[in-house]
Amino acid sequence: MSTTTTRGVAQPAPAKVSKDRPRRGLRAGSTFNFWLFTGPFLIGLIVFVFVPIGWSIYLSFFEARFTVTPSDFVGFENYTQVLTDVDFLNSLVTFTVFAAFIVPTTWAFSLGLALLVNRLRFMRAFFRSVFFLPTAVSYVAASLIWKMSIFNGVRFGLANTVLSWFGIDNIAWLAVPDPPWYWLVIVTLRLWLQSGFYMILFIAALQNIPRELYEAAAIDGAKPGWQTFRFITLPQLRATSTAVILLLLVAAYQAFDEFFNLLGKATWGQPPLVELYKMALGENQNYGAGSAGAVVLTMLICVVTLLQGKIMGFGRGEESK
């Protein structure tokens, strides 16, 4: 997941470099160096990102079952099908519920971790690494651990063992849709996997807040603790927070692995990507409808991101100068 999660942010990088170059004055061979360093990345981007995107848009206008080189042009029929598909529309609701849970909790949790780790006077590197490590675990492996040992439905599952100390009966976390305990499994899994990464971002930002601000505040009578956090730390973290929330939202849109692995043969809790996977790669192999869904989803992500940028002011820094 991490590849696609971060790609959106990675893209502007080469462009930015090229803009900066002329101002610094060209030295001989620097153009060559530029292409040498960005070339492989750009080629990869074109071959693995832009061509598939283009192809997918092309496919979305064709009747493409069991083939990726279709000949039967159908116009917007696939789009009508996708936009009237109850399952697809439900998946957008599922996503919204999921994002409403996961984005604030991860934001708060990783910020909390960052504040704690940043306060440590010893073993800071150790704790930083420990909390960051889960980022390296694959979603599939983590899903299996969550499903088979922590949240399995039998009496010796970790969660059920803990509950049984308080006399609570076994809960089949994933098999039963009502009450929807499966959200607890899915949210905790993602929280564990990704909060370490965002914690590192927050730590970097925290360390960059000038000491003078705190000193000045202390002289002006600000109490340490909540007051300082609310009026100095939080505003100073604004840029990072915005970036983190943006990344979290995009990552939530791309959720697939844990849903696919945890909720086998369920009709509930299916986010858009799982729905598209079933459409394009299930029994029907309907690449046309699948691509149309993907395009719709991409546009939605773009709109939401732009809106969020507008509301939270992502990238407004330069203009306000």
């Binding site: 971060t6 990675a10 590192i200």
Partner: protein, 420 residues
């Protein structure tokens, strides 16, 4: 110091981290072993198998392949619970397997995906279980070689039944009652798989209905089936059912570990169960649903197919003939040395001593008496739509009749595509 410089510094770091991750991810995506040897020889074959649970099965399949002199056969052992999705996706690509195991489904034949194997089966056709020939035949042509027949039924612990004073259930009501009586603080009453889909066909059959009629019309949407779904829903919500077990229904672990008194499983699991529980094992078919019903057993199994769109159709057919028609010793080894399966060849089934006595013999009896074989017209898309019925009307509380109606509509669409 302005806040602006801080935010710039942050963003650059974000970008750096992001680019690093993207680069690493890109590299990882380039990997991938197709299982094909790089040589240009036309006699390199790839075969797909789903991962059998029993120890030694993967080695056995590779051993047979190695013994074949006609071609260099590589085996792809596909783990995970979605073999059919991986197979269907692979069949579309250039890395498609030449030979693969699957169940007979007509869409593979209509789309020209699997090769006609009539010529290699014809000489020994009479030695096959005729039901297995019928289930692989379309318009007089036979499209797959059955390797093993796998009857699926309930396993139970007679000692626990005696303790709870429970008789072997013959109706769904009795099964639900039995599960309630058998349940204790440590042991659940019954296990029908984590998503209950393994018994979906049996629910239909035991209610006196069928998946399709003889002329391929939907036959499962009856009031009896709807009533059966409702009963199953009461079992699901009773708390007597084992749910969320770490291993699914096809694995005997839940039964062996004493998590459940009854488990829906297949004959393949018998050796492991007998080793763990001795003779404290009994079996019974899926009970009657409603008054008009009849007990039922799923006669599943796996067959070999040849990819008709591959580059090596003749070599692949030759290999399938060698192993699954000619090499009776390997066929018997495959059917009885790991898990227990019934050989589809009558001559082998009769000589397989391991299946002649005790529990396996009872399994064979249920197979013959109550078994329903694969229906080639019942395809994966139809199976999935019944999966949704199970999810919506048993695990969720939707109206069974409405769900069956919706399912019938989907099945009808599929049937129209296949039969016009």
């Amino acid at each position: 110091m302005s806040a602006l410089s801080n935010s710039n510094w942050d963003r650059r770091n974000v970008l750096r981290a992001a680019m690093g991750l993207a680069a690493v991810g890109g590299l990882a995506a380039c990997g991938g072993n197709t299982g094909r040897s790089s040589g240009g020889s036309g006699d390199a074959l790839v075969q797909y198998f789903h991962a059998y649970g029993e120890a030694g099965t993967e080695q056995a399949i590779k051993k047979y392949a190695k013994a074949y002199k006609g071609a260099n056969v590589t085996t792809q052992w596909i783990t995970g619970s979605n073999f059919e999705q991986k197979l269907f996706a692979a069949l579309l690509t250039k890395n498609a397997p030449d030979v693969f195991e699957f169940h007979p489904q007509i869409q593979l034949i209509k789309s020209g995906q699997v090769a006609d194997l009539t010529d290699i089966i014809a000489p020994v056709k009479d030695d096959f279980n005729q039901a297995d020939i019928t289930s692989h035949t379309v318009d007089g042509k036979i499209y797959g070689v059955r390797m093993i027949d796998d009857p699926q039924f309930f396993f139970y612990r007679p000692s626990l039944f005696a303790k709870a004073k429970v008789e072997v259930p013959t109706t769904l009501e009795e099964l639900i009652e039995a599960a309630a009586k058998l349940k204790t603080a440590k042991i659940k009453g019954a296990y029908l798989g984590n998503d209950l889909t393994p018994v979906q066909n049996n629910l239909i059959w035991s209610a006196g209905a069928d998946t399709l009629t003889a002329d391929n019309k939907p036959a499962f949407n009856t009031d009896e089936v709807a009533a059966g779904l409702k009963q199953l829903r009461t079992l699901f919500t009773s708390g007597d059912l084992l749910l969320g077990a770490p291993t699914d229904w096809w694995d005997p672990s839940a039964f062996i570990q004493g998590l459940t008194a009854i488990q829906w499983c297949g004959m393949w699991a018998m050796p492991a169960m007998i080793e763990a529980l001795g003779d404290d094992i009994g079996i019974f078919p899926f009970p009657k649903v409603g008054s008009a019903g009849k007990q039922s057993v799923t006669n599943g199994g796996w067959s070999m197919f040849v990819n008709a769109k591959g580059d090596n159709v003749d070599a692949a057919k030759e290999y399938v003939k060698w192993l699954w028609i000619d090499q009776k010793e390997y066929q018997e080894d495959w059917a009885t040395s790991y898990g227990f399966h019934i050989p589809p060849r009558t001559s082998l089934a009769q000589s397989a001593t391991k299946l002649q006595t005790g529990l396996p013999a009872e399994g064979v009896k249920l197979f013959n008496e109550f078994g329903h074989f694969d229906n080639i017209g019942w395809t994966q898309a139809m199976i999935s739509s019944v999966n949704d019925v199970m999810a919506n009307s048993v695990r969720k509380d939707d109206d069974p009749k409405a769900q069956l109606d919706a399912c019938e509509k989907k099945v009808d669409t599929e049937l129209k595509k296949l039969f016009g």
